[in-house]
């Protein structure tokens, strides 16, 4: 049967209807037929970043600060790389407390504004537009900080820009303003049994997290999306700092323009902090004519709290996602807080991943010996496994506190879980014997989840990143752990239907629907906290007021889902009336100017991987072995390697061992990095000719191999024997070796000895030998240090 007949027969039997045309001319591989670049002879080079292969080309953010608020305009630029129309689904991050007030799309030259409708109406309109071949876009809220952007019918090779306008309040702590703009979504641990997979995410919906497939977007294995970020501040600014490198320029109109360094990408929350040089009052108020926003700063000098005993409970997340600098930061935070306790206080420390580990079964007194023992226990913790948060929170909140004690629970985690709803319910139904405070560590902690959890439990939330000087921030937060310094703030003459507490170190704010020229802030007892005239503000505060209302309603619903129906009706009403994106209202924009004919293909846009830093610490690094049986593709239940991100010696990238697949990206980057490193090593050692410099050539490969593979005795033996063979071939007798050569010889013999099956061969022995070897061969010290930290554990 000829080829054509065979294909026709295939079509007939299977009724697939593919069109087969033989590729008679040229010689193309499967990859090239699909559109990948041809693989060169050296197939072990690092990966093509493929930046433009996906739909998202870049993200543009423009932030403007007005008063205590920020207005952010985010533009997502998409391009259709295919020859037919494209439908894209992209899960985008959003600021947890921000109000999305506008939604526009631009196809071609015109901007088309979208409007906010109920979910059912928006979905119906979007589906109809999609079927009618109009270009359209819709925003669907999954969580407070996760939105799904759906676009339909992008014409072939055309661009589509989606613009969102977000208003939010700045976080103010001790005179420092903070803007936090998330650019990506971190991976989440999804507990439970898979039951469905409705969304386009990487994880399936489970019985504990029914929307996991919509809240866990697929992560890009390689490459990153360029980020163009600009922030405009009114001067005078006395100081400014950021989580990434900033470039500040003074502008003519008395503002300061802050941008990021050239190669910024969407891999972490962009945090900018600045101190204003303007004189600040304790109370500030802004009005737009219909609403008044009141901001109250805590007093500068802290009155020492009455000498109440504290019962401090620490819950430390040591799951796989906390790998690296995250866990080190978390440990520092907890040990710092422990050491600040007084001897009359009591403490409990627990760590959790898939299991719960407790330092002790009962609370211990905070004597220096107990604290040191606890700190040692904490230091020994390593990251790995899933994140089962329910049991530790339950036991921490459930236990009754000792009388005359204030029980505070501090949860230190990155919040990378998908079963938020279950945890909220649990936390709300526990009797409030204790306040729960949360600290989010990492470059993209789950701010929405952790801040809601702390609100439900009457505490507060603090995000910190590994690159920041966290000590000052945390000191204030720690002081606030004993409780608020003022309860039940409100404006004299107005009734606030909800509680606002003032904690040390952090400003409290609320918005009221009043027309006032002057406010006087009082606490629950009527004591005057401060007063201020109302400054007119050009921005409309209605949306922020509605957003606050919705946040409180959602808090209530999260804790008590029985009242869901009433809460939902009110949220939907607020969303439509104020044109705000909510869980029950969605923005939709449709361009009815032209139809895009032809079939379309659906694509899911993956998000960038969150930046992970790992500080080099040869003692604490865990080196993992490759999954047996396969290379890049498989993800077994074995461990994976830690090594350099962008090949700098001090930054290492790790990947966790986990029951569910949470960090596939790390393995890919690991492999890619190793390939480049080997090339760099060769260049470093100037190895060009195997004939003339055999020792260096084989040495390089030997070290590469040794650090690649798990410490297999056979490999070391083989490597050592090869080196010895060529080394000895260079000269006839051992006596004629130079001192350097002798040192290498001794080293190689020791390497050979290392492979004897001695169970407790000290690891640092190997490191010292490797050091010696490298220093003899003359490699850059940076490379040595880097390699030292990746030596496999024996």
């Amino acid at each position: 049967m000829s080829w054509e007949n065979r294909m026709n027969d295939f079509n007939r039997r299977t009724r697939i209807g593919a069109s087969f045309t033989p590729n008679r001319g040229g010689f193309r591989t499967l990859g090239e037929l699909i559109g990948l670049p041809s693989v060169g002879a050296d197939t072990l080079d690092s990966d093509n970043s493929g930046g433009s292969a996906f739909a998202l080309q870049r993200v543009v953010m423009r932030v403007q600060v007005t008063g205590d608020c920020a207005i952010t305009e985010t533009e997502q630029h998409y391009r259709n790389p295919c020859d037919i129309a494209l439908d894209v689904v992209h899960t985008i991050p959003m600021s947890a407390a921000g109000a999305i007030v506008a939604f526009e799309i631009r196809c071609g030259k015109r901007w088309i504004a979208g409007d906010c409708r109920t979910n059912a109406a928006a979905r119906a309109a979007f589906t109809k537009a999609k079927r009618s071949a109009y270009q359209s876009a819709m925003l669907d809220q999954e969580r407070d900080d996760i939105q799904t952007l759906k676009m339909a019918n992008i014409p072939p090779h055309a661009e589509l820009v989606v613009k969102l306008t977000i208003i939010e309040r700045l976080r103010v702590t001790d005179g420092r303003f903070e803007i936090r703009v998330p650019t990506t979504i971190g991976m989440k641990y999804v507990p439970g049994i898979p039951v469905d997979h409705e969304g386009t995410g990487s994880a399936a919906d489970t019985d504990q997290a029914s929307d996991a497939s919509r809240a866990t977007p697929i992560v890009r294995l390689d490459g990153a999306t360029p980020l163009d970020f600009q922030l405009r501040l009114a001067k005078p600014i006395s100081a400014i700092e950021g989580s990434v490198d900033l470039v500040c320029n003074d502008e003519k109109d008395d503002t300061m323009l802050v941008t990021l360094a050239q190669d910024a990408t969407c891999n972490c929350d962009v945090v900018v902090r600045f101190w204003s040089r303007e004189a600040r009052t304790l109370v500030r108020a802004y009005g737009d004519g219909k609403h008044v926003m009141v901001v109250v700063d805590p007093p500068a000098q802290r009155q020492p709290k009455a000498e109440m005993q504290r019962e401090a409970v620490y819950l430390l997340d040591c799951s796989g996602s906390m790998q690296g600098a995250n866990l080190q930061l978390a440990k520092s935070v907890v040990t710092h807080s422990l050491r600040a306790l007084r001897p009359s206080d009591q403490f409990e420390v627990s760590a959790f991943n898939t299991d719960e580990l407790r330092f002790s079964d009962t609370a211990k007194r905070a004597t220096s010996s107990n604290i040191e023992a606890a700190c040692t226990w904490i230091d020994a913790l390593t990251a790995g496994g899933g994140t089962e948060m329910i049991a530790p929170i339950q036991s921490a909140l459930h236990a009754k506190s000792t009388p005359q004690c204030i029980r505070t629970v501090l949860l230190v985690t990155d919040g990378a879980v998908a079963n938020d709803a279950v945890i909220f319910q649990l936390a709300a139904t526990m009797s409030p014997h204790a306040r729960l405070y949360t600290i989010g560590v990492g470059y993209a902690p789950s701010t929405a989840f952790l801040s809601r959890l702390s609100r439900i439990c009457n505490g507060s939330y603090l995000p910190i990143a590994p690159s920041v000087d966290w000590l000052t921030e945390f000191a204030d937060f720690d002081a606030a752990l004993v409780g608020p310094i003022a309860l039940g703030l409100s404006v004299d003459g107005c009734v606030l239907p909800y509680k606002v507490d003032l904690f040390a170190g952090r400003s409290a704010s609320f918005i009221i629907k009043e027309k006032l020229k002057h406010v006087r802030v009082i606490d629950a007892h009527g004591k005057v906290i401060g007063e201020s005239p109302v400054t007119p503000i050009s921005m409309s505060l209605g949306a922020l007021w509605a957003r606050d209302e919705i946040m409180r309603l959602e808090d209530r619903r999260a804790g008590f889902p029985d009242h869901a129906a009433d809460v939902d009706v009110r949220i939907e009403d607020l969303g439509v009336r104020y044109q705000l994106q909510t869980r029950l209202t969605s923005f939709v924009a449709i361009d009815q100017s032209k139809k895009i004919a032809g079939k379309s293909i659906a694509m899911v846009q993956p998000v960038d991987a969150v930046r992970v830093d790992q500080q080099a610490s040869s003692m604490n690094l865990r080196v993992f072995s490759r999954c047996h049986g396969s290379g890049d593709s498989d993800f077994g239940d074995h461990r994976v390697y830690s090594l350099a991100d962008d090949f700098a010696p001090d930054a290492l990238l790790g990947a966790p061992e986990s029951h569910s697949i949470t960090r596939p990206i790390a393995l890919q980057q690991v492999k890619a990095a190793w390939r480049v490193l080997r090339a760099q090593l060769r260049a470093q050692l100037r190895i060009t000719d195997k004939q003339n410099e055999p020792m260096r050539w084989y040495l390089c490969d030997a070290m590469y191999k040794l650090t690649q593979e798990p410490l297999k005795a056979s490999i070391i033996r083989h490597a050592a024997s090869q080196l010895l063979k060529f080394f000895c071939d260079d000269s006839n007798s051992q006596d004629s070796h130079s001192p350097e050569q002798a040192a290498v010889y001794e080293l190689l013999s020791s390497l050979g000895n290392l492979c004897l099956p001695v169970p407790k061969q000290p690891r640092h022995h190997f490191i010292l030998l490797a050091d010696k070897l490298w220093s003899v061969v003359g490699v850059d010290l940076e490379v040595v240090r880097f390699l030292r930290t990746t030596v496999p554990q024996s």
């Binding site: 294909m7 295939f10 699909i34 693989v39 090869q722």
Partner: protein, 177 residues
């Protein structure tokens, strides 16, 4: 190879069945490379991993049971073939989701005429260092492959077509196993 797939078009698989079927078909595919980096065998975890990075589309659920179909099988096979050619998962992630099932079948069928290049590893004496050299392989007929060293013969494809035409009368083209 397309014939191999035709039996699976209307089947439904559980995760384990899908892995077994994939392994069975991979074993039957002609001249797929084993370079030590990519194994030919997949298991359930691999398939779930491919799903989590978007290379394989999500399964349908009937109750709590995940049900996989032909398109999942097709995508895993294509992904494995691409890997064996030396493409990384990142590259596969950027290209594969954009392809429709028909386009993938088209690509696989096109290879009926011209087979993927085989990269022949020449393992040096030194610790598995691999020097890769590319040979061109062409399918002359069913189970008959012509291997050409491109450094010496430039027009491998036209040579193969001529030979295929000539050999058609000799090659046994009965339906395979």
């Amino acid at each position: 190879m397309i014939d191999l797939l035709s039996n699976s078009v209307r089947k439904r698989f559980s995760l384990e069945e899908l892995a077994a079927e994939t392994n069975r078909l991979l074993a039957r595919m002609p001249l797929v490379l084993e370079d030590g980096r990519t194994a030919e065998r997949v298991d359930g975890r691999t398939i779930r991993y491919y799903q989590s990075i978007g290379i394989v589309t999500k399964p349908q659920y009937e109750g709590r049971q995940a049900v996989y179909r032909f398109e999942h099988l097709l995508r895993i096979l294509v992904a494995k073939r691409l890997q064996s050619q030396g493409y990384s998962l990142a590259q596969i992630q950027s290209a594969l989701p954009r392809q429709t099932n028909e386009q993938l079948l088209q690509a696989l069928a096109t290879l009926e005429v011209i087979v993927d290049p085989v990269i022949v590893p020449q393992r040096s004496q030194l610790m598995g260092q691999v020097n890769a050299q590319r040979l061109e392989c062409f399918s002359i007929g069913k189970g008959v492959t012509l291997i050409v060293d491109p450094r010496m013969q430039r027009n491998g494809s036209s040579l193969a077509q001529h030979l295929a035409a000539e050999a058609a009368q000799f090659v046994n083209d009965s339906p395979g196993i």
